[in-house]
């Protein structure tokens, strides 16, 4: 298991491709985008992106804005 920071909270997850982690965390809709360690990760790269110890993930969705 490795520790990653998901939207500001440390959690444990097995070292796996991003797609598997998203499934485990329950992210199923298509209306979110991801940045890891402040870098945008396109959807097309989820399958091949391997999570690493200490990664900081931001999973963002549409929200009200001015």
């Amino acid at each position: 298991m490795i520790k990653v920071k998901l939207n500001g909270h440390w959690i444990s997850v097995k070292a796996c491709p991003l797609t598997e982690a998203l499934e485990e965390w329950g992210y199923q809709s298509e209306t979110f985008a991801i940045a890891i360690n402040h870098e945008f990760v396109p959807q097309s790269c989820y399958q091949n992106h391997q999570l690493q110890e200490g990664d900081a993930l931001e999973i963002l969705s549409p929200m009200q804005g001015g």
């Binding site: 985008a33 991801i34 940045a35 945008f40 969705s61 929200m63 009200q64 804005g65 001015g66």
Partner: protein, 261 residues
């Protein structure tokens, strides 16, 4: 009519989607305003969270163009990352670029803004830059490929209107061939009309409608003020004079002028 890239718009009012009492109130306000461009943002989403889905479902069904923002960013690189995430979700190259330099008045950071604008324009984004009325900065932003300049009227959410009308007027006169919207600080329809009378191409506002007792009515009021201001600009204003000039012809006035002296 206003054209931005390949999009032609009939409304010159852009509306934010935040702070409304409910999604239903937001929907009514959007309809009443006649706007064709809505601003949205990205925020953290917990897994299986329905709130965001509901909001996005509402917005999509309103049929407006989406202008995602980078609100909350303080560094150019943060804004670039958010812009890329927005492009993937909203399927648009439009980005309202906000890079804040001071948390007290949410004033844009001109250095980081320029850096981010350059990177995004090079990457194919249509950048709508939230900026101040600083003429030199605005010229630099345009030179690096910014599509739309959006100088503030006054700090975001303040409702103070146009606190530096002189600066905004000069900016409009000196940059006559680019699209300029006044963004932020608009509190009343008269503020919006003032900006439009100066020749601004549109106004972007949020709080003035969202915090009104009736967002729907205020949205409608802004719709007409923006139209009115634009018509006034196109009509051309009369010259301002220091002294009175009778509007009624003075020639062949009747008897009372003969009794003087």
């Amino acid at each position: 009519m206003l054209t931005i890239g390949d999009k032609t718009l009939t409304s010159r009012l852009l509306l934010g989607t935040a702070q409304y009492p409910s999604l239903e109130e937001l929907q009514h306000a959007v309809t009443a305003s006649g706007t064709e461009i809505l601003t949205v943002s990205l925020r953290r989403q917990a897994a299986a969270q329905e709130k965001s889905e509901t909001f996005w479902h509402y917005i999509k069904n309103l049929g407006c163009h989406i202008l995602p923002n980078t609100a909350g960013c303080h560094q150019a690189q943060e804004a670039v990352t958010i812009a890329n995430m927005s492009r993937e979700i909203f399927q648009t190259n439009w980005i309202k670029l906000e890079v804040i330099g001071d948390d007290y008045n949410l004033q844009p950071d001109p250095i980081e803004l320029l850096t981010a604008a350059k990177l995004l324009a090079q990457d194919g984004f249509d950048v709508f830059a939230y900026c101040t009325e600083d003429l030199v900065l605005c010229k630099r932003l345009l030179a690096c490929g910014v599509k739309v300049l959006m100088p503030w009227g006054s700090p975001i959410g303040s409702g103070k209107g146009l606190v530096n009308p002189y600066g905004l007027q000069i900016l409009r006169e000196r940059i006559s061939d680019a699209i300029l919207f006044v963004d932020a600080g608009i509190g009343l329809p008269s503020h919006a009309a003032q900006a439009m009378e100066m020749g601004y191409d549109g106004v972007l506002l949020n709080s003035a409608v969202a915090y009104a007792d009736s967002p729907r009515l205020m949205a409608e009021a802004f719709k007409y003020s923006v139209m009115s201001g634009r018509l006034a600009f196109e009509a051309g204003k009369m010259p301002v004079r220091e002294f009175a000039k009778p509007s009624t012809p003075t020639i062949d006035q009747p008897f009372w002028s003969e009794n003087l002296g």
